[in-house]
């Protein structure tokens, strides 16, 4: 019945079914919201990131900024700087140096406004047995000790690998996550519907779900944010490492590189043959995680010894 109607109608009706539905949805939700909440309506009608014009994006950002100001009682700047030309970001981590001190984990928490409650960490540091090598089945990320490194162990921090062939992007039914031209795999927190397909698709466990409204102490908020990165997120959506997009697109090293006390973390432009990351790749023993899956990470592990 239903189906028949729409089929016969579509030929004659001047308003297309899609437009009608969109309008109707808008009106209904506007009614449901009490019709007065213009911001909510605007949020609902926001276009996909790629389809927004400059003005529309600026408007969306202004809306977010006022929303955040209200929620966190501080002025939060949301930036949308695009990728630089001739830049392909790469990351290399020196497993001979890492001692598993977790300084990077908490520098990331602070820089990227990670929810303190319920807790999310974009970086997980795995403790592995020197005897067993890179054997993820026996990795432990909950180790605690007086001092690290612990005898007989080595450490492997894992976060988003920013793959060339990201399975998470393929699995997203609404294109809320994609790979930018500079290699960063990003998420639009306003487009994510929280279906968590990407989490199932990611072989690195790099994506995390906000089970509840993310709590951040207002005095610890990093007010320097990027639309596709560390701006505050919402309940019911997925988040992950963005290579500190708010820093790296301004030419800065990611927060984890800056904090690392042993200098194990290397970041740079893979297209620049003079970058430290290229040197590491050309002269050290390098491997990528789960190579057999052909995800082709832009995150490399190497041994300097």
């Amino acid at each position: 019945m239903e189906q028949n109607h729409s089929q016969t109608d579509s030929g004659q009706c001047p308003v297309s079914r899609r437009h009608f539905l969109k309008g109707a949805a808008g009106v209904i939700s506007a009614l449901a919201l009490g019709a007065c909440d213009a911001k909510k309506l605007e949020e609902l009608m926001q276009k996909h990131f790629h389809e927004m014009s400059k003005e529309e994006l600026a408007r969306a950002i202004a809306r977010l900024e006022s929303e955040y100001a209200e929620k966190y009682k501080t002025a939060i700047k949301v930036d949308a700087t695009g990728p630089m030309e001739h830049t392909l970001f790469g990351y290399a981590l020196d497993l001979s140096r890492c001692i598993g001190c977790r300084r990077c984990v908490y520098a990331c928490v602070k820089e990227n406004n990670l929810p303190r409650e319920p807790q999310i960490h974009w970086i997980r540091v795995l403790e592995l047995d020197k005897e067993k090598g890179v054997d993820l089945a026996h990795a432990n990320s909950y180790y605690d000790a007086e001092t690290v490194p612990r005898e007989g162990h080595f450490y492997m921090p894992v976060a988003c690998q920013h793959c060339k062939h990201p399975p998470c992007v393929k699995s997203c039914p609404v294109s809320a996550t994609w790979k930018e031209p500079d290699g960063i795999v990003v998420i639009d927190s306003n487009w994510c519907i929280g279906c968590r397909c990407c989490m199932a698709a990611c072989p690195y466990g790099a994506r995390h779900f906000n089970w509840a409204d993310p709590q951040i102490p207002p005095n610890e908020i990093n007010t320097n944010t990027h639309y596709l990165g560390n701006r505050p997120r919402y309940k019911g959506i997925v988040e992950k490492c963005s290579y500190c997009i708010q820093r790296t697109r301004q030419g800065l090293y990611p927060a984890c590189v800056e904090i690392c006390p042993v200098g194990a973390r290397k970041f740079g432009n893979l297209l620049d043959p003079e970058s430290e990351i290229r040197y590491a790749m050309e002269t050290k023993r390098v491997f990528i995680l789960k190579e057999e899956l052909n995800t082709q990470p832009s995150f490399f592990y190497f041994y300097s010894l």
């Binding site: 830049t87 001190c101 977790r102 605690d144 030419g251 090293y253 430290e276």
Partner: protein
């Protein structure tokens, strides 16, 4: 698949049966047809480069013009000042008028805090510190080196590390990945007198979400 294909190719080449050779063993008519076909294929291939310039170029494989390199990489790197303890530098404040005592011994004030365990069997203070001008270090050949450049001294014996340090792989660069950087000296991480990197206390482990509450008692 690819393997067996290339093996066949190799065998056919070995048997001198490549297409080229076969043409000569054909009759006149077949030869003409074959040549026409070959000519057509060649012209079309040539033409197609003009007609479809993007053929074979997926988005990812675009020719990449390399970025303007920071040739003057060294100029872009600043080294933070040496991590001296308070009131120790300039050394000449005390050593200016003091006689040098090259004896290996247990040191008193103000150096009683120095634990020397850097190849200690073979080395002592004045292998690195300059006896006459205490505000400088010296290399094996006698060249004086400023404390701001102590990495040159370390590089004498740890050349591989110095090389990796210079390109940014050993040690740590901070600041801008495409511009101004600061670069820690070796002695920011390694105490020159006791260079083994000291263990650190780890920050707390993540909350174990899956651990049932009942079991955690």
């Amino acid at each position: 698949m690819r393997l067996s294909f290339s093996r066949e190719l190799l065998i056919s080449i070995a048997n001198k049966e490549s297409a080229c050779c076969r043409i000569f063993s054909m009759n006149r008519q077949d030869q003409v047809i074959t040549l026409i076909v070959i000519l057509l294929v060649i012209t079309f291939t040539c033409l197609s480069f003009f007609l479809f310039p993007n053929i074979g170029n997926t988005a990812e494989e675009k020719t990449i013009i390399l970025p303007k390199l920071h040739k003057a990489a060294e100029e872009n790197i600043a080294v933070p000042p040496p991590p001296f303890s308070e009131d120790i530098f300039p050394c000449s404040d005390c050593h200016g008028g003091r006689a040098t005592n090259p004896q290996r011994r247990k040191l008193d004030e103000p150096h009683d805090n120095i634990v020397f365990e850097h190849d200690a069997q073979h080395r002592w203070c004045l292998d690195c510190h300059n006896a006459t001008d205490r505000d400088k270090l010296h290399l094996a050949n006698g060249t004086l080196v400023d404390f701001k450049e102590s990495y040159i001294l370390c590089g004498q014996c740890h050349g591989d590390k110095l090389r990796d340090w210079k390109v940014g792989v050993h040690g740590k660069r901070m600041g801008s990945w495409n511009g101004k950087k600061t670069y820690l000296l070796c002695v920011h991480c390694h105490n020159p007198h006791s260079p083994r990197f000291k263990p650190l206390q780890p920050l707390p482990p993540p909350v174990h979400l899956n651990k049932p509450k009942i079991l955690s008692h």
